[in-house]
Structures are given as C-alpha cells and as structure tokens.
Amino acid sequence: MIRRHLPVLITLAVFIVGYLICLAQFPSFASTRVIGNLLTDNAFLGIVAVGMTFVILSGGIDLSVGSVIAFTGVFLAVSIEKYGLNPYLAFILVLCIASLFGAGMGFLIHTFQIPAFIVTLAGMFLARGLCFVLTTDSIPINAPAYGHIADIAFALPGGGRLTFIAIVMLLTFAAGIVLAHFTRFGTNVYALGGNRTSAELMGVPVGKTTIRIYMLSSFLAAVAGIVFSFYTSAGYSLAATGVELDTIAAVVIGGTLLTGGYGTIIGTLVGVLIQGLIQTYVTFEGTLSSWWTKIAIGALLFAFIVLQRGLSAASLRTR
C-alpha cells in the first residue's frame, strides 16, 4: 500500500520540505496572500497538466498543448475584439474547435499507429501557425465580461484572494481525480499505459479511449487558454511557448511514470505547486535570475526520473 504511493509521497515530501525552507527564509510564505497567488499564477499550468497526466498515463505524449493555449488566446482576442463576438459564445466555440483538434490527433495516432510524439509535434506547429494566420500582433481584450470574471474572488482570512481561475484549476483537478480513479474510462487509460496489446486482448476499446484522451487534453488546453487570457487580458501568438515541456515536467515530478501506466492526478497538482514554489522563491529572493527556476526544475526532474528507474528496478527484484 505504502510502496504503491511512494512516488507521490516523495513528491509531497519534497513540496513540504521546500515550503518549510521558503518559510524559514521568508516568513510571509505562511500568508494566504502568497498561497492564493501561488494557485492563481499556476492555474493555467495546472489545468493543462491534468489533461497531460491522462495522456502520459496512457503511454502517450501531447506536445501541442502550449500552441493550443496560444491559439485559444488569439482566437478569443480576434473574435471578441475584431468581430465583436459574445465572449461566452467565443469560449464555447474555441472549446469545440480544440476538442475536434484533439480528437483528430487521437484518431491519427490510433488509426495509423503513428507515435503520439510525431502527431502532436505536427499539431503543435499547426496550432502555432494558425495563431499567426489570425494575427501577428498582441491584441488586448477589453470586453466588460472579462473584467467581471476576473473580479470574482473569495477573500481568504489574512488578506489573500482565492480567484476565479484558481477555483477553476482546483475544480479541474477534482474532476480529473474522479475521472481517473472512479470511472471505466480512467481504468482504460491506465490499461492502455500498462500494456496496449493486453488491453486490446481484454476488450478495452483502445481506439475510442485514445481519441478521448487527446480530446480531453486539447479541451483542457483550451480551458487553460481561456484562463490564461483572463490572467493576461490579451491574445498573443507567441504566448505559452514551451508550456508543453513545463507541463510534462510537472506531471513527471508529480510521480507519473513517463512510460505510462503508473501515476496519479493529485501527484500532478503537487508537481505543479512545486514548480510554482520554486518560481515564487526566486521572485522573493530578488537577486536570482528567473532562469534559476528552470535550473532547479531541471535538477528536480532528473532526480525524479532516476528515482523512478530505481523504484521500478527494485520492484522487479522483489518479485
């Protein structure tokens, strides 16, 4: 029981130790303001990471999510500001487009047995290219609805704010946990990651599940794109470059095996928070370049992959 959850427990321990270190140096880390900001600042990353966790659990990868986030932002900015579309209608539209886009990638991956890496790499270029077709400028979004939504927040005791986008992230995680651990779809995702051939022999609907996984990932990327547009109040073609890699890092640090089959959604949340924590620490420190975040994440990622190898080797030995 304990060994099964060891990767997540280690991630959690890293987060707690990291938090305590930050707290020792900067006592204000205990304030709800910092915690509220931690959640808000990483909301879009957390939302994509939920989708990415499903993809990686199934033994795949989705490199297109960063581009889909940017596309969502640009699409919203252009349709709302240039064409005067109702923002809520624009949200629904972009979620549908992204879902179709993801379903298409899943279809290609399953039907032609092309590695997910290649298909989603193509998807990444495609979505990024579409951004530039729509516009090359950074377009600010000034629609009143944006202001209203961005203002929704619960005041936390101690001056912090639990913003709307932070709530969206937390709800996404809650839904992700239910989907992964308490539905047939979730079991099928783990089954695909465990052994695709066996899963097929056991009657798992491999094609349908694959399509749904990538559809979910792109859908959540679009949700993240919407959240990101609240956060920045603009649509820009070059936004969110490299976010797919940050996301993969968060998932792996969260204890999900990159080869699929093992991992949890809750671990991904902790993985995202660890990244946010490092970022916040660097900001508080003030003298450090923000690239130190990347260096710390790189070191952590490396340590976790080595740890996973060690754990799986150890579990093979004890068998």
């Binding site: 079991t187 783990y190 089954a191 066996s198 056991m202 009657g203």
Partner: protein
C-alpha cells in the same frame, strides 16, 4: 468415463503463410468436461491452431463449431465473448492495474457512471475464493507471482462465460507445488463441464492431468488418442515422427575420445530454469543434447555460455575453476555459441557477411582496437572459402543469403576467434538437405581438429550420427548419458519416453 457431448469441433482447418503450410486439414474435437493435451514439436502448428481458433489469424479453409454452431472469431475479445478463453504462458493481463480491475475491466459494477470499487473488490474476492486464492485484490497484479497471475487470468476467462479454456504452456515458469495447485483448479473446472485445451511439453504433466491428447507435426494431424493405455514410447514417436527403426543407424567409426575434459560443469543449475547437472566435454569430442522441445536443451546451452547465470554448481576449464556469469566471460574463455533462433539472436541481417563474420573477433579485441579493413577482408574471404559460404562477395548483406549459408557464416564468426569449445544450438534447423549434410561434415571436421563441441538437435538420427556421447533431457533434467554403442536414435527415443 462416459462420453460427453462434443463441445468444440474443428474440421479440415487449413492455414498457410508464405512458404509454409502451418496447418493442413487438421481435425480436432474437444468434449465438455475434458482436459485435452495438444502436443507437438517446434513448427507443429499448435500455436497457429490456437491463434486461428481465437481469431488472431484468419483461416484459409475448414470449419469450427462450438456447441454445434459454426463460429468465426474476429479477434481474441470476440472469441472470448463466444466462449473461448485463452491464457498464455506470458500472462496477458495488465500488471499495473489491481487484481480486481484485471478481473472486471470493461464490466465494472457502476452507479451514475462511477465505478463501485468496494463492490468490485468484494466480487473479486468471492470469485478468487472459488480458486482457493485469498489475496488483497486492491494490490497491483505485478506484486504477485506468475502462478497467482495465471490463476487470476484463468478466473477471468472462466468468469467471462468461457466454455472452452485454452492454456498455452501455463506451467513453463511454475515450480512443482504451483503446478499441483494449477492442476487442482483444472480438475475442478473439468468437473464443472468446461473443456480445457492444454498445451505443454512436459510428458509427466500430460499423463498427470490430460484425458485425451492430439498430436500435430509439421501442420498435419498425427492422431488423437485417449491418454489411458497410451504407452509413452508411442506418444514420443507420434511427436517425433519416427517408428522404432529395425536397422540400427551406423555411426561414423571413430575411436572413443579419452583424456582430460576441456570443460566440466558440476551440479550446475538455476532455480526454476534447470535442475543441477553434470557435464564434461573433452577436446575432439562431440557431446549431443537430446530431448523434446522444452526439455531443457537450450537452457543448458544458455547456462553453459553464461546467457543465464547459474545459481548453483561450479564450472571448470582444464580443471581450473572459472566464473561464467555473462556471455563475455564465456567468450574470454574461448567459448563460442550459435543460437537456435538464427534470425533474431544470431545474424545481424543488415550487415554484410564480412561484418557478421568479424563481429565476435572484434568484440573480443575490444572496439578500440579496430581490425584493419584489409585484415577483415582476408579473414572473411578465408572462411567463405573454407566453409564454402555461397555469396557473390563478402559485402552482401547476410540477410539475403540462404539459411544454410547464414549458419555457416555464424560458425565462421566463432571460428574466427579460434575457440576451444563451441556450442551449436540446432545448427541444421531450417536448412535445405544439401547444406544440412555440409554442416554435419563441418561439425565432424571441427571435432577432428580437436575442438570440443556441444550440439543440440531435434533430429535424432543426426545427433546419433556425429555424437560421441548423448545427454538425454526430460522436464528440465539431464536424465541419462548415453555413450559407445548406446548412442543410437532408438535408445535416445526410449530414454526420452522414460523407459
């Protein structure tokens, strides 16, 4: 036993692959409440039969009836829904999912779209209790032994309303106690009216559990007989396809080899793989390993060459203790090994004949000390001439050569390292008749040159013709060593049958 109704009836089943007729008008009948052994050597067509039955392959001709109804499975999942469940040696379940999820995937009890995990666990525990298994079903399957995994696979197949249960070599990686547990379950299922097809190589197990056997050979049906009253020797001769010959086969006349052994293995073995054995080979001697498929011939070779690491016993070269933990160790001791599966374990198909021949020698020298191109060509051409490898030139990719010539190039690879001891696993398999005789002549010539040889072959006449001694294996044990005038195909066969 009263005759049960026919459950599965296969008539005239035919399946061909390019160049091979894997099944040729095979009939097979399984009754309800019967354990039916499906036997045959390599290439007999057992696995093709199973794969056609379960919808992995499409048949060319023939009918399959289940309970009198014609059926045609599209894929294994479809076969399962029709009532044919299969459990493979390599358990085809999901190691990362819990035992309960493995049992119920695709049909989990649920409410409002959510899986009722507690209910699923309770059902799983109930189900497994019927098989005498009391385990925590919430743990991942991979935390349990192969034996438990196999029982879970059987429980799943049977619970999915299997009328026919196919077990493909289920006992290959189980120990004696686990096999007994499995057999108890099989007998229990049999009494519930399930028809079981049991594929195995272990004759003792066939006699222990089967009611009836069907033997295939080279895609043909050899016969189907009740096991009661079937003498072992007859079963073995059905499998190997030869009657006890009246005329004894003549061995090449050669004096008995005496002298100190070059290599000796004492109580050498590995748990779950091979019972400890003693084996010696002298310079200029050919020792043959004979037995049915799965009897431990290849396993012996792998232990001797360090591909599998022995966990008991000692190895000696010229009387001195040596450690053979990896193939590198073996190669350093000037051992050579040509594997049974030439295509995947022997040749590197894309590389040229020259590169293939030079491979072991280069590895022995270390990659930093590259053998000069001129020298490589010289070695390659020398062996091409010496062994009469038929290739236009040394630069042709080896994958394009015929099987016999590939085999000769593999031999050349090790001969180039000037070995003292060569292990040849099925050196004549899949080779045409002409090349066959050449390989055998080559073996005899190498032996005259003072090499020590350990040769594995399923061809009894062949192995009797060139071996000075023959070790006969059965059920992962060396059961008897034949030497002198005892070395004949007939004696080997009776020894395999256990008389």
């Amino acid at each position: 036993m009263t005759e049960q109704p026919q459950l599965l009836e296969i008539r005239g089943l035919t399946k061909g692959f390019p160049g091979v007729q894997a099944l040729d008008h095979v009939d097979f009948t399984l009754h309800a409440g019967e354990i039916h052994g499906l036997l045959g050597e390599n290439g007999a067509g057992k696995s093709t039969l199973i794969k056609v039955l379960t919808g992995v392959f499409k048949r060319d001709a023939g009918t399959i009836r289940l309970d009198g109804q014609k059926i045609e499975a599209r894929d294994p999942a479809d076969a399962l829904s029709l009532g044919i469940g299969t459990v493979y040696q390599e358990v085809n379940l999901l190691p990362n999912l819990s035992v309960a999820e493995n049992l119920f995937i695709g049909r989990q009890p649920h409410r409002f779209g959510l899986v009722r995990t507690g209910e699923m666990r309770r059902l799983s525990e109930e189900l497994l209790a019927g098989y005498g298994l009391d385990i925590d079903v919430a743990n991942p399957l991979s935390t349990y032994s192969v034996a438990v995994q196999q029982i879970v696979a059987i429980a799943r197949a049977v619970d999915l309303s299997a009328k026919v249960l196919i077990l493909d070599e289920p006992t290959a990686s189980l120990d004696a106690h686990e096999v007994e547990t499995l057999f108890k379950i099989l007998r229990d299922l049999k009494s519930r009216g399930i028809g079981i097809v049991f594929v195995t190589h272990f004759l003792d197990q066939v006699y222990a559990v089967c009611d009836r056997i069907t033997v295939l050979r080279n895609g043909h049906l050899v016969g189907s007989r009740p096991i009661a009253g079937l003498p072992r020797i007859e079963l073995v001769s059905m499998m190997l396809g030869r009657e006890l010959a009246a005329e004894a086969l003549h061995r090449t006349q050669r004096g008995t080899v005496t002298g100190e052994p070059l290599v000796a293995f004492k109580d050498y073995g590995k748990r779950r793989l091979m019972e400890p054995f003693n084996l010696t080979v002298r310079p200029g001697e050919v020792v043959g390993l004979a037995g049915l498929l799965g009897s431990g011939r290849t396993e012996t070779a792998k232990l001797v060459f360090g591909i599998e690491r022995a966990d008991s016993g000692q190895a000696f070269v010229h009387g001195r203790t040596v450690r053979i933990a990896t193939p590198r160790d073996a190669a350093r001791l000037q051992f050579g090994f040509t594997p049974e599966d030439r295509k995947t374990e022997g040749i590197v198909a894309e590389l040229s004949v020259r590169e293939n021949i030079i491979l072991a020698l280069q590895a022995q020298r270390g990659w930093l000390r590259l053998i000069p191109r001129r020298k490589q060509e010289e070695i390659a051409n020398r062996f091409i001439k010496l062994l009469d490898i038929r290739t236009p030139d040394a630069e042709k990719p080896i994958g394009l050569l015929s099987g016999g010539n590939q085999q000769k190039a593999l031999l050349a690879r090790w001969l180039a390292t000037e070995p003292r001891f060569l292990i040849l696993d099925e050196p004549t398999r899949g080779i045409d008749v002409g090349a066959h005789a050449e390989i055998i002549r080559l073996i005899e010539r190498l032996c005259e040159d003072g090499l020590a040889l350990l040769v594995i072959s399923s061809e009894l006449e062949e192995i009797a013709s060139y071996s000075d001694r023959v070790v006969v294996l059965r059920d992962r044990r060396h059961v008897r060593e034949l030497s002198g005038s005892d070395v004949s195909a007939d004696t080997i066969m009776t020894t395999i049958a256990g008389h």
